[in-house]
């Protein structure tokens, strides 16, 4: 689950990770007061959306007076912010963070993530702060420091020192950065983050060490033990159809094509998208109904697929294991009648109770096309919408 910068910083504060003073506002009229409360001669006005690259889209501005802060906040609030990460449709800005300005001596990068190669937690750091870390990794990999953390001992002072020295941090800042790294790791583990990125991590001219920006993703699988963090979810940042699907425990991702897909299992769902493309079509979505799908789930799946106006045909590809084909067929027939679906539907079913399933489709009096395999099904649906 993604959360906003201001929410990430609230979490970091709980773990004594230093972040700039800031006030969150949602109205232009609150900006001048917020800037005065922050109290520095320069303040930073930052748009709160989930995507990165906000500065490039005009979502981050410096203000030298409360009046200027108000002006910037007025411009940013309510704007549709387009950044390299939002796509051309951009995101509506509903909240703005007003933060203290500071004199920056050094900008660094620090990220913590679960490294799939070692299956352990990895701390990445670099002196190339403020840049996209993927670019640094591609162009100058030698500028990235990597330290794997042993989960038994966590981040001990020696490991934090090792990272700090490798980043050429000296003097008073060195003392401050050691607990910063230790506490950051603590936050990562205790909050079940799947990714925590501080870019930039800054050292000020008066040797303070702060997380100037913070990007935190929480592991969806761990939400059961973070009920409080669940309140941070911002549904406006997600696709409305995906939000709707998640209510029914359906795994749906909207894509740009016009062939709706309903599949059981994530791997087969991806493979189904692939074969549609190979057959000359474009998938409109990824939809995994899972192994325990019942009639109601199938109906909801149909409703969500059909809510996308670009869908011109539907391909159902089911390999019945736990999910029985007769149950699926009943669900498909019921939903097609109930929702009065007019667009072509191609069904490919195999596995448990396949014969019964086909009989149910045949007896329904509805006009389903039957795919004899994945390829045949994909070709039939591509042809049907042309």
């Amino acid at each position: 689950m993604k959360i906003h910068e201001y929410q990430a910083k609230e979490i970091l504060r709980k773990y004594n990770v230093a972040v700039p003073n800031g006030v969150l506002i949602s109205k232009k009229s609150e900006a001048a007061k917020a800037a005065r409360k922050v109290g520095t001669s320069v303040v930073v006005v930052k748009a709160q959306i989930h995507a990165g690259g906000r500065g490039k889209g005009g979502g981050v501005k410096l203000a030298k007076s409360p009046q200027e802060a108000e002006k910037h906040a007025g411009n940013i609030l309510g704007m549709t912010l387009v950044t390299p990460q939002t796509g051309p449709e951009g995101r509506l800005v509903k909240k703005v963070l007003i933060e203290e300005g500071m004199s920056i001596a050094k900008e660094l990068y620090m990220g913590i993530l679960v490294d799939r190669e070692t299956s352990q937690v990895l701390i990445m750091a670099s002196e190339a702060g403020g840049m996209e870390i993927e670019e640094v990794a591609a162009d100058t990999p030698e500028r990235i420091i990597k330290e794997t953390v042993d989960p038994v001992i966590g981040v001990q002072p020696f490991l934090a020192r090792k990272i700090a020295f490798a980043l050429n941090i000296e003097g008073a800042a060195l003392k401050a950065v050691i607990p910063f790294i230790i506490n950051l790791y603590d936050a990562f583990i205790k909050e079940d983050c799947s990714m925590l990125e501080i870019n930039p991590l800054v050292i000020t001219s008066d040797d303070r060490v702060l997380a100037l920006d913070a990007k935190v993703d929480i592991d969806d699988n761990a939400m059961f033990r973070h009920k409080d963090t669940l309140a941070c979810r911002d549904l406006d940042e997600e696709d409305p159809l995906e939000v709707e699907a998640s209510k029914f425990h359906l795994n749906y991702i909207k894509l740009d094509g016009n062939i709706g897909c309903m599949v059981n299992g994530a791997g087969l769902a991806m493979a189904t998208m692939d074969i549609i493309k190979l057959s000359g079509g474009e998938p409109a979505n990824f939809l995994d109904v899972g192994g325990g799908a019942d009639e109601e789930m199938i109906e909801n799946g149909f409703r969500i697929i059909l809510s996308d106006p670009s869908v011109k045909g539907i391909f159902i590809n089911i390999f019945g294991g736990i999910l029985r084909c007769d149950i699926l067929a009943r669900g498909v027939v019921a939903a097609t009648k109930k929702l009065k679906i007019k667009i072509p539907i191609v069904v490919r079913m195999e596995g448990t109770n396949m014969e019964e399933g086909h009989q149910i489709l045949k007896d329904s009096g509805l006009n389903f096309a039957i795919g004899s395999g994945m390829k045949d099904g994909a070709q039939k649906v591509v042809k049907a919408i042309k």
Binding site: R225, N251, L255, G267, M270, M273, I276, K375
Partner: protein
């Protein structure tokens, strides 16, 4: 021959009294798997599914039944604990079906298992089947056929799809291993490849990967160096958008890495026959044999 599981495997189920655990234990028994017991803390002393004894701890189960394999159906918040308990009791093969275990739990589990003799398959996997011998997991048994193709896969239903294609062509399988769709898993492609290479009953290998991570690249380099049997490969998610988690927790292209295109390129370069269309897996394997 086969790998990992066969008629000698002595299986227990952790979470045997739950709905899923009970159902799939019964299915495995029907297939011929030797189920010797089950574990549900607090329900020790009961008997289920006829005469299968339930124990409070894995240690008790091992002491009484000499179990050497376990199948885990414990819900996600408690599943990592179940894996650790099985390893602590000395179970050699731990197959964890549970989907949705927090990744930080798996970081700890992975580290702990390194110091033991236990092998973990999964989590978030369909399990392992050696057709005609034993099945440990949730795969539909009737689509399989005894034979000499070894299958390794990160996906459940896509494995069934492949098995279905092979069986329809009259080609059987030695063992099918679902290694799971999570970012941290106990047994990787390379571990299973090594076993298949050694297994005299396996003549060809089918490897089914997906977007995210670099396990397929690692496997490809391993194959080039160590595997002399023909290997067919497929990567699901050629049309997946970057940055989105495609159902499986591990199926995500991040920072431009882990794309299907890149993986397929590396696999081809290492001598694997890569099929672009999942519908061609069976036919291509037939040719390789």
């Amino acid at each position: 021959m086969s790998i990992l599981v066969d008629e000698k495997t002595r299986l227990i189920t952790q979470g045997i009294t739950g709905r899923e655990g009970m159902f799939h234990t019964e299915q495995s028994m029907k297939y011929g798997t030797r189920v010797v017991g089950g574990v549900t803390p607090g329900k020790g002393g009961q008997k289920v599914l006829g005469n299968i004894p339930v124990f409070n701890t894995v240690r008790d189960a091992v002491a009484k039944t000499k179990a050497n394999a376990t199948m885990i159906f414990v819900p996600p918040p408690f599943a990592s604990d179940a894996i650790l308990e099985a390893a602590d009791a000395g179970i050699e093969l731990i197959i964890c079906i549970t989907e949705g275990i927090p990744v930080s739990d798996m970081v700890d589990v992975y580290k702990y298992l390194k110091g033991t003799n236990s092998r973990l398959v999964g989590p978030n996997c369909p399990g392992v089947i050696s057709p005609g011998k034993a099945k440990i997991g949730i795969m539909p048994a009737h689509i399989h056929k005894k034979g000499n193709v070894g299958i390794i896969s990160r996906s459940g239903t896509l494995t069934y799809e492949t098995v279905g294609q092979l069986t329809a062509l009259g080609i059987g399988q030695s063992t099918c291993v679902g290694i799971g769709g999570d970012p941290i898993i106990g047994t990787r492609f390379i571990d299973v490849l090594a076993l298949f290479q050694k297994d005299r009953g396996t003549k060809a290998i089918c490897m089914i990967g997906e977007i995210g991570g670099s396990a397929e690249d690692e496997a490809a380099y391993y194959i080039k160096k160590h595997v002399t049997k023909p290997v067919i490969g497929f990567i699901a998610g050629q049309t997946a958008p970057p940055g989105r988690r495609m159902g499986h927790a591990g199926a995500i292209i991040s920072g431009g890495q882990g794309t299907a295109e890149e993986k397929m390129k590396v696999m081809k370069r290492c001598g694997i026959k890569v099929v672009k269309s999942p519908a061609d897996l069976g036919k291509t394997l037939q040719k390789a044999l």
